[in-house]
Amino acid sequence: MSDSGEPGERTTPAVFPPPPQAKLSKQVRPVILSVLVLTLLSGCVFPLLLAVIGRPLFPRQANGSLITRGGVVIGSELIGQEFSRPEYFQSRPSAAGNGYDGTSSGGTNLGPNNPKLKNGAADFSGIQQLAEKYRKNNGLPQYAPIPIDAVTRSASGLDPDISAANAALQIPRVARARGWSEEAVRRLVAIHTKGPQLGFLGNARVTVLELNLALDQSPGGAGPPKSR
């Protein structure tokens, strides 16, 4: 092939005999009908087919992975919610609406070199203020390192998970507020910690609502404190 480029050497894959050619004047009907018919096919038939197959197979997921307690919906496995009481593990900070608004997903859109992200503003807590509050709430020393997910708002403001490291730092506070031993809380956290997906994608995480629900429902939570 070193002396390629010689015309006439290669075989010609021309279509033979030449096919009939479509006339431009005959294309009006296909243009109009294709827009309508193909929109129906991909915008109506496809979603319906997906619903007919998928909804019976995955009914819980299809309806939003809702979690109920005593017949009342208390949230979704996939949507973070606000926890401010010390006896609950706390979610990541949120910029969705006025915070954790499930109808108004969104982040701060502040770039990493925007001083507002770090220092905050009059009506906005920056990473510095969030870190201060987090350290104070959890009884950590002034310069104790904290996981980044504890002081940053997620892109949707609805992240249901926190990192395993974030959960670990909150264990002493939760244990104290509930009057449990740290060991008991730690055991529950371990049960509800999910490893990286397929063993290598992402980091270990804890779904906050699921863990807090388990805290409330475990016998140590309802009964008198200090039992193991």
């Binding site: 018919v37 109506c44 949507i79 606000e82």
Partner: protein
């Protein structure tokens, strides 16, 4: 700890790269079969639909087009799709189904509808709308999902024609736009999206027409959770290399 995490990152990259390289050749060979109208294992399922569509649209699949006719068909089809999507978005308030008007706090204005219609039919798919605060479920499905498919299929068709233009010598034609469009849709995008969307549903992506759910959180606050036919859009969005998502936070949701 850090070094094992770094190792994990490298495993992520390597697995991704291996998948891309591994898929490239079989996917390319399959696409070539689709473009050349040769037999594939999907023929028994989608073959009759293809035949029916040709009959309905009045397309004669054995006819070929010159580059000029091909491009005019492509442009006219895209223009028609833009107009239809624009009308669906502008008149979405007359479509039945959720979400409730009270949650649609950001209105679908004329300029936003025009922006969205043009960018979706051009596969730019710029998301200038707020999703859960702007769009009705049916507008998302019949409008945006449809264009995720059609703009992608039209792009694939142009790709087929472009390669024919290079590969063929002494030929006045580069294929038939309608045939390429319909085959890209039936043999590639629709079946892949069906499988992919089912996997997404299994992994938790919702697919419903239900009103937004009012939840009472563990601490007793009300929280409204957006719902919708999300799974129908998410996979084709990625497959067709589109951009605009279902919710405001798009792929970062939740």
């Amino acid at each position: 700890m850090t070094s094992s995490l770094n190792m994990m990152r490298w495993v992520e990259y390597l697995v991704f790269l291996a998948i891309v390289i591994g898929v490239a050749q079989p996917a390319g060979l399959y696409l070539a079969r689709v473009a050349q109208r040769r037999r594939t294992f999907l023929d028994p399922v989608v073959g009759p639909i293809e035949w029916l569509l040709y009959r309905m649209l009045g397309v004669r699949p054995e006819e070929e087009m010159s580059a000029g006719v091909y491009v005019i068909c492509f442009l006219a089809f895209s223009a028609g799709c833009t107009l239809l999507l624009f009308l669906v978005l502008v008149f979405q308030r007359y479509l039945p189904g959720g979400p409730a008007e009270a949650f649609l706090t950001t209105p679908m204005t004329l300029d936003l509808a025009a922006n969205t219609a043009v960018s979706f039919t051009a596969t730019t798919t710029w998301q200038a709308y707020g999703g859960e605060q702007t769009l009705r479920y049916l507008a998302q499905v019949a409008g945006l999902v449809a264009q995720n498919f059609l703009a992608g299929a039209a792009g694939l068709a142009i790709g087929f024609a472009f390669i024919r233009g290079i590969a063929r010598e002494r030929s006045a034609t580069i294929g038939n736009f309608w045939v390429d469009l319909i085959r890209a849709l039936l043999w590639v995008l629709l079946p892949l999206a069906l499988i992919g969307s089912l996997i997404l549903m299994w992994q938790g992506v919702p697919l419903n027409m239900a009103p937004y759910t009012l939840a009472h959180t563990l601490e007793g606050h009300p929280q409204t959770i957006a719902q919708g036919p999300v799974a129908a859009l998410e996979f084709i969005k990625n497959l067709g290399t589109n951009g605009g998502g279902f919710f405001n936070a798009n792929g970062a949701h939740p």
